[in-house]
């Protein structure tokens, strides 16, 4: 998954390309995309057999 690209597309639609390209938005976008990617890729199964399913 390319979280950055997906999130940026949503932002451009919501804010317009100019605002989406402003440095503080771009910085927030990069940080959020990195967190999103990590959350998407992490396993829900805990190590060594803990049952963490909701």
């Amino acid at each position: 998954m390319d979280a950055y690209r997906e999130l940026r597309e949503r932002l451009v639609r919501a804010l317009g390309p100019e605002r989406a390209a402003e440095p503080e938005v771009e910085a927030a976008l990069r940080t959020a995309a990195a967190h999103l990617e990590r959350v998407a890729e992490a396993s829900l199964e805990p190590a060594e057999g803990f049952d963490a399913r909701p």
Binding site: L7, L11, A14, A28, A32, A42, A47
Partner: protein, 450 residues
């Protein structure tokens, strides 16, 4: 116990309380002395949003009349309150211009409880806007070119500068412990739900904690005793459940050194924590490396996704009403957060449960975890309020955490260690921290503020 002639601005809350109970110190004299100190040093520090001198003096006079009352363990203790927490009659500005002229009708639950315990509110301390990361103009008393941290910025600076012995803060990522570390004071965040948040402007409901900035671990214990308990105005607050007894305060603790937290820390911070571990071990503590703890990076990512989604909801209407009143980093953070997909929040909560179980396991067999509070000392002011990566995991998991200040390092800035306890074992954590505090060098006062 220090004589009342000792510097009043350096007394701990416990010392103030004991002196007042013994009628060796007048609460009015204390408040007058602290107000004079604020007047002399505040222009260079900017720790306060509002000073409420008249009502503080009235409160001190009332405290003088109730000296010795058994229900007043904080009788006459002056208190700073972070400006996201309601104090009746004063605006809760949140660093947000549209709120600056809007006085709160009633005290927040925690303020009301501390007042019942005898505390006297001196005023409202500065905060980053809505407790996010855009800094206020507050200065670090150790080095004015460096960040005082955030978001409980004014509370940490006011305690460090000798304006008040005790100040309330809030923590969603690292906003109590990090400013505590950067300013050389003690910071404590109890277990999630232990202290109610009615009257506290929310950042993120499932992460927000009320905590305290103080001059000693004992003062954190006094705060907790006065502040804890269920609050009908905060559905997340609850009475602590019965848990197995915590560590015996008289015995050396069993500490788990969270080695993964040292990897990303500066060499100076790493050496500080390892030196503290060596000293504590030499005094009898058992220090064991904890190798298999949940990933710090994943915990931070889960915490951030959770916080960003919840903050978007908190600010949904306000943003529409006052889009231009938001500081740049917060505005951008909310704009980006509004576009995060719903599955990300759901998945973050499922991961949160997994991480909580893994962290409980990492704490098994230890009275507390030992790690740095921050990855480095206070950064230059222009670089922001500092990195929350070592505090945010314990906000995410709701575990009690405390920052214990150490002596300044090579850059003349305080260093600190962090201790993290088991869920609801706040008293156990405070016992461990008191044991450590007795055996480690203290930071002293910021230069020129003795």
């Amino acid at each position: 116990m220090p004589a009342p002639s000792a510097a009043l601005h350096r007394l701990t809350a416990a010392e103030v309380s004991a002196l007042i109970a013994a009628r060796a110190l007048s609460p009015v004299e204390l408040v007058r002395s602290l107000l004079a100190r604020v007047e002399a040093t505040e222009p260079g520090l900017r720790a306060w949003e509002t000073i409420d001198a008249e009502r503080a003096l009235a409160g001190a006079r009332a405290a003088e009349r109730t000296v010795g009352a058994p229900s007043a363990p904080l009788a006459g203790v002056p208190l700073g309150v972070k400006d996201v927490i309601d104090v009746a009659g004063l605006p809760t500005g949140c660093g947000f211009e549209p709120f600056r002229a809007r006085p709160a009708a009633t005290d927040a639950g925690v303020v009301a409880r501390l007042r019942r315990a005898g505390a006297t509110v001196l005023g409202k301390t500065t905060t980053t806007q809505f407790a996010f990361r855009d800094p206020p103009s507050t200065r670090n008393p150790w080095r004015e070119d460096c960040s005082p941290g955030g978001s409980s910025t004014g509370s940490a600076v006011a305690v460090a500068a000798g304006h008040v012995p005790l100040a309330l803060g809030t923590q969603t990522s690292g906003s109590v412990l990090r400013p505590a570390a950067f300013n050389g004071v003690t910071g404590f965040k109890p277990t999630f739900g232990r202290v109610g948040r009615r009257g506290v402007f929310p950042s993120a409901w499932s992460l927000d904690h009320v905590g305290v900035l103080a001059r000693s671990v004992e003062d954190c214990r006094l705060f907790l005793a006065a502040a804890e308990g269920p609050d009908p105005g905060d559905p997340a607050s609850t009475a602590p459940p019965t848990i197995p007894p915590g560590p015996d305060a008289a015995l050396p603790p069993r500490l788990g050194l969270l080695v993964a937290a040292l990897d990303g820390a500066s060499a100076e911070v790493r050496e500080h924590v390892l030196e503290a571990a060596r000293r504590l071990e030499a005094e009898g503590a058992r220090v064991e490396e904890v190798g298999s703890a949940p990933s710090l990076e994943l915990m931070q990512a889960v915490q951030q996704v959770t916080m960003q989604c919840e903050m978007v909801d908190v600010h949904r209407r306000l943003r529409a009403l006052h889009p231009d009143a938001y500081r740049p980093a917060l505005r951008a953070y909310l704009e980006v957060g509004a576009e995060l997909p719903g599955w990300a929040y759901v998945r973050a909560q499922r991961l949160r449960r997994r991480l909580a179980l893994e962290m409980d396991r990492a704490l098994d067999g230890h009275d507390a975890l030992l790690l740095p509070t921050c990855v480095g000392v206070a950064p230059p002011s222009a670089a922001g309020t500092g990195d929350p990566s070592l505090q945010a995991p314990f906000s995410l998991l709701g575990l009690p955490a405390l920052s214990l200040p150490g002596q300044p390092g090579r850059e003349r800035l305080p260093l600190a260690i962090q201790l993290v306890g088991r869920r609801w074992d706040d008293l156990g954590l405070l016992a461990v921290a008191a044991w450590c505090e007795e055996r480690l060098p203290r930071p002293g006062s910021p230069p020129g503020l003795d």
